[in-house]
């Protein structure tokens, strides 16, 4: 067990990180975001706005000046991130070194791979809109730099999953169809079929339907039902809704309003 003494920081204007949809209020949170969300930090994170926050709100004029000089000297962003971590003493030297190495390993990837990893990261953060932007960036560059069919299929597959995440099922279906053109995998057809279970208005096109046997339908339906029943998110939402409906009518309406607002906010963050 160890303790870290917090800096005396009187932050009046927190720093908003658009890609994460959160405000940060301290140097410790800034370091945490850099290490735990490296793809946010690697992508034009250190800019004038962040430097002004470091200088004016965190009271670290020396670090702010150092970063300004680094920007003027066109120092790689990774070095600037490491400098921020070193000045703040939130992570140990060993941890900072490990982080620096992980940045280097990302930088060694080719551009398409790195962009996909970044897209995957946003997908796992449930930032589906941002994830789609990264995946589409790869496809736009595809004409310039050839990438394998398997890789392209994986990208379309992730685009489809991202659209499904924001309940845009017809776009998801189109993306799965594109994925299938690059990788003739039955697994893609399974996902198309399961998409129709989410949204019965959708239909699997005839050219794919011919590959689906009645056994496949039964197994995929069973798998879908079991996933839906086991989903933690579903259970949490259900228990929250149950507790709302246990309240008296006035408080029920108030709680339902709050829940709808929070779901709306969550959805906005996703897109």
């Amino acid at each position: 067990m160890s303790l870290i003494l917090c800096r005396q920081e009187q932050v009046k204007h927190p720093f908003f990180i658009d890609k994460l949809g959160i405000h940060i209020y301290s140097s410790e949170e800034l370091c945490y975001v850099i290490v735990n969300h490296p793809f946010v930090a690697m992508d034009n994170f250190v800019d004038e706005e962040l430097i002004a926050f470091i200088r004016n709100e965190l009271g670290q004029g020396f670090l702010a000046g150092k970063l300004e000089n680094m920007i003027a000297a066109r120092t790689p962003v990774d070095d600037m991130l490491v400098t921020i971590l070193q000045e703040n003493d939130y992570y140990s030297s060993k941890e900072i070194h490990k982080f620096s190495q992980s940045l280097s390993s990302y930088r060694r990837m080719n551009r398409a791979e790195l962009t996909k990893v970044m897209g995957d990261y946003y997908f796992h953060q449930k930032k589906y809109g941002t994830a789609i932007q990264y995946y589409e960036r790869i496809l736009n560059e595809w004409r310039l730099k050839s990438i394998s069919n398997g890789f392209t299929a994986a990208v379309w597959n992730n685009i489809a999953a991202s659209y499904a995440g924001i309940f845009w099922f017809d776009k998801a279906m189109e993306a799965y169809e594109m994925a299938y053109t690059f990788d003739k995998s039955k697994d893609v057809i399974r996902k198309m079929y399961q998409l129709t279970l989410f949204n019965p208005d959708l239909k699997v096109k005839d050219r794919f339907n011919t590959y689906i046997t009645s056994d496949d339908r039964a197994n995929w339906k069973k798998e879908f039902d079991s996933v839906m029943a086991d989903g933690d998110d579903m259970r949490i939402v259900k228990s929250e809704l149950d507790s709302i409906f246990e309240k008296d009518p006035i408080r029920r309406l108030e709680a339902a309003g709050k829940k709808v607002t929070s779901l709306k906010l969550e959805y906005r963050k996703m897109i």
């Binding site: 160890s2 917090c6 959160i22 940060i24 949170e29 939130y90």
Partner: protein, 408 residues
Amino acid sequence: MDGMILGFDLCDTYTRIAISDTEETWVIPTVVCKDKNNDNWYIDEEAYEHVLAGDGVVEDKLLSLIMKDGTATIEGVRYDALDLLKNFLKKAIETAAKKTGTDVIDAICFAIREPEAKIMDSLMYCADFLGISRQKVHIISHTESFVYYVMSQKRDVWSNQVGLFDLSDGSLRYYEMKTRKGFRQLQVLADNERQEESFRLDVLDTKSGSRMADKILSTCADRLLQKRLFSAIILTGKGFETTDWATDFIRTVSFRRRVFQEHSLFALGAYYKAIDTTREKTSYGFTCICDSRLKTGVSLKVLSRDKEVEVPLANTGDNWYEAKSTVNLIVDGDNEIEFYMMPMDQKNKKSVKIMLEGFPHRPDRTTKVELTYGFLDDKTMAVIIRDKGFGEIFPSSGTVIRREVTLA
């Protein structure tokens, strides 16, 4: 600085006040009188004049009243003990202001017999009421006041042990202090003990009573001082205003020892302390260990530049009432905070862990806590730990833990 510096010896029956420049001291009864017809308050002779005139109601034993959360009802209006003390101090400070010609206070120090947190809190509330900044208000015990008085004298007065007899109506206390070389600076150790051999001062009105009192005191002095070496013995309190009745006692205490009388000792000690607080650097280069000071230091171990370093929360010799603060910490690893206790005898050092029960499980270093600490007396630390969360990344759960920790 042009303001007043005040030393108060605040007792239940009388209050002695010392003021800057003149070092003049005067004594007033610790009573306050409320005019029956208006909102005027009086102290000292004026108070008794109004009582005799029949238009005033007097309230006494103000500190006892504070301790028992007492109240007084005057002409159908209820006043709590704090109201009475506020008005008493207001009038006392007004008297001092008249004597010095200024109503600005640079520093004020109260010496009270026992460092009771309740009385100390009340004095701070009084300071707020009187518009005196808390930074300018200091509260010490009689024992500490004794130390400041003695350490303000020439070195030969305190080169050895110093004893002090304080005799007042129905109370006899013996104080003792000695100096020793500490690791960094001189240490002054002082203590006091209430003696069972006390008596009412009206027994001195008769010859037989005086003889009995003298015998009681000389036996007591014999037992306390034995054949030990003292550089000074000091006598204070109303009982020693004259010593004609105490021939045997004086003979006993003055045997190969110097004896001084100082009736304003506690007020002057408080005054010297008050002066010292106005200086940029203390003139008293010693660590005081007594009932208003901590005998055990408390620290935390924190990570700084990859190394574990000790951060003191309170040091041995700190005034326990003033040793309070709030720090923000980030917890890494187990959800607990470990306090390291360092008593004067380092062999007895120990650590105490407080588990952060009820705090949510979060990744390492994402639980920020606000630690507020203070001391209830020289042996007990009170701790409040609040979950501050980690910004919007991990919002606070609002959990609060309150604990009392025994220091040694």
